[in-house]
């Protein structure tokens, strides 16, 4: 037993919750389990959101229409993470990119890999690398990472505005 005065205590606070995905996220996750990226189109401004949350944040109205998106995407921006993040098991350094999939008007954050870090740039074209279909779950981890593909860069003004048919020859 120490003779020093008590100056601190530990307070373990562990609370149990049962989390339920929202209706719109649940539909998104179900499609993701089937290997498909989907968004929702706002009936007001026609913009397509991924992941959908059931509302267009700009208009504040409910979104219902589901839109199948490409698993090709454009790098809107990115960072190279060098420090470990609590709860994130990935070994640094790694690239976290804001990616807009073709057919959507908003970016989400995912891993960019199988690339030369110094060559990653805004406007770069990338594509999802999926896990084996047998491992698919209700999780964005079904996509291991995105990797660069051999398509011309997207001009900045066009990022977030590509149709689902994508970029290059078809666009």
């Amino acid at each position: 037993m120490s003779d020093d005065a008590v100056t601190g205590i530990e307070a373990p606070i562990y609370l149990q919750y049962q989390f339920t995905a929202g209706r719109a996220p649940a539909r998104f996750l179900q499609r993701l389990k089937a290997g498909q990226l989907t968004g929702q189109r706002c009936p007001g401004c026609s913009q397509v959101y991924i992941p959908p949350r059931g509302a267009c944040p700009a208009c504040g109205i409910a979104t219902e229409e589901e839109v199948v998106l490409s698993d090709k995407a454009t790098v809107q921006s990115f960072t190279i993470v060098y420090i470990p993040i609590p709860g994130n098991p990935i070994e640094p350094p790694y690239i976290v990119a804001n990616l807009v999939p073709d057919g959507a008007n908003i970016s989400f954050i995912h891993l960019l890999s199988d690339c030369v870090n110094d060559e990653v740039h805004i406007g770069q074209r990338v594509r999802a690398v999926w896990k084996d279909a047998s491992e698919w779950d209700y999780s964005m981890d079904n996509i291991q990472y995105f990797k660069p593909i051999d398509e011309p860069d997207v001009p900045v003004a066009q990022i977030g505005k590509l149709p689902v048919s994508g970029w290059g020859a078809g666009a």
Binding site: A11, L15, F19, G22, A24, R53, A55, G60
Partner: protein
């Protein structure tokens, strides 16, 4: 000081579990209802928005940030948030209107309490060195309070059961209620105790849902041309956190808030009291000096359904509804926060 009116109010059903709905999906339909009541498009049509919620209910930091997605906040809006019941968001909004920075405001509160164990979550609201580490839950604290009253002869168990019976009966007329029915005091007293001396029915249920309200200056309310009720007084007071220091059989802070809000300046036709436990309704009725002529919790109150973080706002809304529907001319709404009624808000509403 500018006169302020409640113009619209809506509350979702009190559900034991809102299941798959996320915050946005809970909030949006309620907001749609109040916008439609006034004929507004979205939050762009009011001058200020304020909400109340608590991150710990669902266990996610920044619960209110997701709420902004329900507002249509493009272009950007004047918006704020209290980590309190939305009744305090109403209070903040009233100050905003009084100071002339807004003529109208949207207030909402939302709660998805079902994912966690609410009485245990709220145990972490207590003193972090002396009480929270013991995990004293809120139901148990209320039970300690109830025993003090019973021992003192300030109430009987039958008095408590009578509060519950009235709540259940009144809730039959409230389609949003979670618990309603015809049940006698005798039947209630025949039930086993839960956290003795409390029986399960003495405690409010855990509910998921949301509530929203639109307020405005009386001038703006007149321009909108919708029925409204005036908020003629509003005040709130907090007491010591130390339960041992407070007279738990009384609510001194409610008395103070009531005096400041002018409760005694006229007859009280209706009172909606945020009493999560049956005996607390009796404490509050006495602190507010309510008599026979006041209809207490005609909605059934929170014993019939408790939207944590929105129930206080709902009490104001329920009084508003009864005034604009002509059932009452003047009413009192009450909201509470903290263990055993530590913090209390009192509002007085009157017919236009």
């Amino acid at each position: 000081m500018r006169d302020i009116a409640v113009v619209a109010y809506h509350q979702s059903d009190c559900l034991a579990s809102a299941g798959a709905s996320n915050e946005v999906e809970l909030i949006m339909p309620v907001l749609r209802q109040v916008f439609d009541q006034v004929g507004l498009h979205n939050a762009q049509d009011v001058d200020f928005v304020c909400s109340g919620s608590c991150d710990y209910l669902q266990g996610a930091a920044f619960a209110f940030v997701a709420g902004v997605d329900a507002l249509g906040a493009v272009p950007p809006i004047r918006e704020s948030h209290v980590e309190m019941d939305a009744a305090w968001a109403l209070y903040e909004s009233i100050l905003k209107i009084r100071m002339g920075h807004a003529d109208s405001a949207l207030i909402y509160g939302f709660a998805k309490s079902s994912p966690g164990e609410l009485p245990i979550v709220l145990s972490q609201q207590l003193d972090p060195y002396y009480l929270a580490p013991l995990w004293v839950d809120t139901v148990s604290l209320a039970a300690l309070q109830a025993r003090l009253m019973l021992d003192k002869g300030a109430i009987t168990e039958a008095d408590m059961a009578a509060v519950v019976a009235r709540s259940r009966r009144n809730a039959l007329g409230n389609p949003r209620a979670q618990l309603a029915g015809e049940v006698s005091v005798e039947e209630l007293l025949a039930e086993e105790t839960y956290v003795s001396p409390l029986r399960r029915h003495d405690c409010c249920p855990v509910s998921d849902g949301a509530a929203a309200m639109i307020i405005a200056t009386v001038e703006q309310a007149e321009r909108w041309g919708k029925p409204y009720a005036r908020i003629t007084g509003i005040d709130h007071r907090i007491e010591s956190h130390n339960l041992g220091l407070r007279d738990l059989c009384d609510s001194v802070s409610t008395r103070r808030a009531a005096a400041a809000a002018g409760v005694a300046d006229g007859a009280v036709d209706v009172a909606e009291l945020y009493a999560p436990f049956s005996h607390q309704e009796i404490i509050l009725s006495r602190a507010l000096a309510l008599g026979e002529s006041t209809a207490i919790n005609p909605s059934g109150g929170v014993l019939a359904g408790n939207l944590m973080m929105a129930s206080g706002l709902s009490r104001v809304g329920e009084v508003f509804r009864r005034i604009v529907e002509g059932e009452a001319g003047r009413g009192v709404a009450h909201a509470t926060s903290g263990p055993c009624l530590q913090h209390n808000l009192v509002a007085v509403l009157e017919a236009a």
